[in-house]
Symmetry: C2
Subunit: 343 residues, 2 copies
Amino acid sequence: MTEAKRSEPKRPATGADVARIAGVSQATVSLVVTGKSEGRISDEQRDHVLKVARGLSYQPNASARSLRLGRARTIALIVPNVANPYFSSVLLGAERAARGREHAVMLLDTGSDPDWPGWVGQILATRAVDGCIVYAADPLTPGQVRVLGRHVVLVEANARGAGSVQLDIAGGIRQAMVHLIELGHRRIAHLAADFPQETFQVREATYRASLNAIGIAYRPAYVVKAPFQIEASTAAARQLLVLDQPPTAILCDDDLQAAGVYKAATALGLRIPGDLSVVGFDDIELARMLEPELTTVAIPASDVGARAVEMVLGLIDGRSARSQTIPLELRVRGSSGPPAVYR
Amino acid sequence: MTEAKRSEPKRPATGADVARIAGVSQATVSLVVTGKSEGRISDEQRDHVLKVARGLSYQPNASARSLRLGRARTIALIVPNVANPYFSSVLLGAERAARGREHAVMLLDTGSDPDWPGWVGQILATRAVDGCIVYAADPLTPGQVRVLGRHVVLVEANARGAGSVQLDIAGGIRQAMVHLIELGHRRIAHLAADFPQETFQVREATYRASLNAIGIAYRPAYVVKAPFQIEASTAAARQLLVLDQPPTAILCDDDLQAAGVYKAATALGLRIPGDLSVVGFDDIELARMLEPELTTVAIPASDVGARAVEMVLGLIDGRSARSQTIPLELRVRGSSGPPAVYR
DNA sequence: CTGAAAGCGCTAACAC
DNA sequence: GTGTTAGCGCTTTCAG
């Protein structure tokens, strides 16, 4: 008990504590623990300092360090809804990529609150983050981008004044439509998202363009909207399936909606793909749980997250980011086949 | 252009910049921007400072602030896999609760790496976080808890030396078994998780105890194991369903497994719940997407996250945390009914 | 009512 | 090789 207060787990040890006990200067401690002692500190001295540091279970204070360095090695990820499996995959990919580059991820869920940029900006400004990735379907104004900080990367939404990772939505829809058309479908309906975002407008436009391209007339009754909920999607699908001339295939804006189509079809005694082909969008895990497994346009979610991370990291390091577009890929599974008339 | 360099968006403005331009001291700026100027700074002075601050779009530096305050208003959340919908719900609840208490959430995904405590501890130590929530199925050693920092709350795993939020797993299984037994089932199988964690041992033990309680003999052939994957679960379920005396009901350790049971049943031409009752565990969104909707034991995931947040926040504020147990609730839906023999 | 000054814990020039 | 020192930007007594 002679050596000052022995164990005092109240206050974590500081570099100064280590220095005092090891009988060296604080600078030496810093050099040693950050591994920059090469050729500056003798090996015995270093080992001694290390031992003392471990003894006190010394951990450099993170705030002090990032204050000094001007870097927190943390990036923020802003998503509309983490509980959505698609976004959680993006998150997973982002977190992994960030960790691989020695960065941590701070998560902010906007809950689709339309005026999120304001309060999110507040939170970011009062947190030690070096940059942020924003997953948003709607484009942001330059002002909104600015309040988010100096290093902003947008995903899906396009933006002036920020790097962005875009998805080739039109390409994805086109592949799905070509697939259905090649199978022989001519009565193809679109179970569309009941949201105003640009991405969904693109999907609808591409759906129409694809029909147009092979001379199929667009029928307003073949386009119904539903939010991404199972009940609403089921109801909307039912509406299509009880038409006088029901579609032989339904293209959905989301895999969840496709699940609704399955339910509606089952309720009406229709078999998939025999009586009805279904194509989804996103390729979340659910797609492989449905029976039969869902043909769907896959978005490489975790890859999207990873690329966005690379992009912010680039911005932070002073490289300017060029926007990039990620291709989508149709995954053909059991839910699509030739229409009944061809069998 | 007389007023020094006009716009210089390179370096963010500091409190000193504001002070200089506003012609006041840095202390005044601090008082004003933190809203502590009441009765200390004149109203005109305050408004003036505020105007200048806004003009420079001044934001107090987060690292400096938390260095000074010793608080970062950030907590870490460590989960085995964010992409798992159950964990993402926990995350969602935690993030909301944290934000309501002015805290942000840093996310760390262990990917179920068995030696996560080491590297996670490293990351936490080098980040400005005030505490952490750990979702782990396996109990942690006191040493592992210690490296995670001073304020640790465990979810599901029990631990000495840390607060914890526990789930009443046994109660949940019991409810499910009572439900099936009351419906008249006597041949009840268990599609168990193929993982060694305590929670799964509890489930198996409770399954047996429930059978035992009403004098049903335990049949080894009625217990099969599968990981939480659709193919493996389907195969395992099939194994049960092709027995000479197949079960009339299957209790699953996870909703994903239940989805596998559906697939196996469909493949064998069995109807749910007519020929087979199925009960899941977790109540993720998938439960309501299956046809018929799945009877399952609901874990209030986002509530679990929220409670864990309250608990760490308590620890951080110096209150000692008492561990608590969250009750689970059986949600009866369409996948369970009386066995065929009773119809 | 306002300003001066100390110091949170760390890193990196720069001396010695 | 090792120590001294000067801040990073902020909050908060303490004087005036």
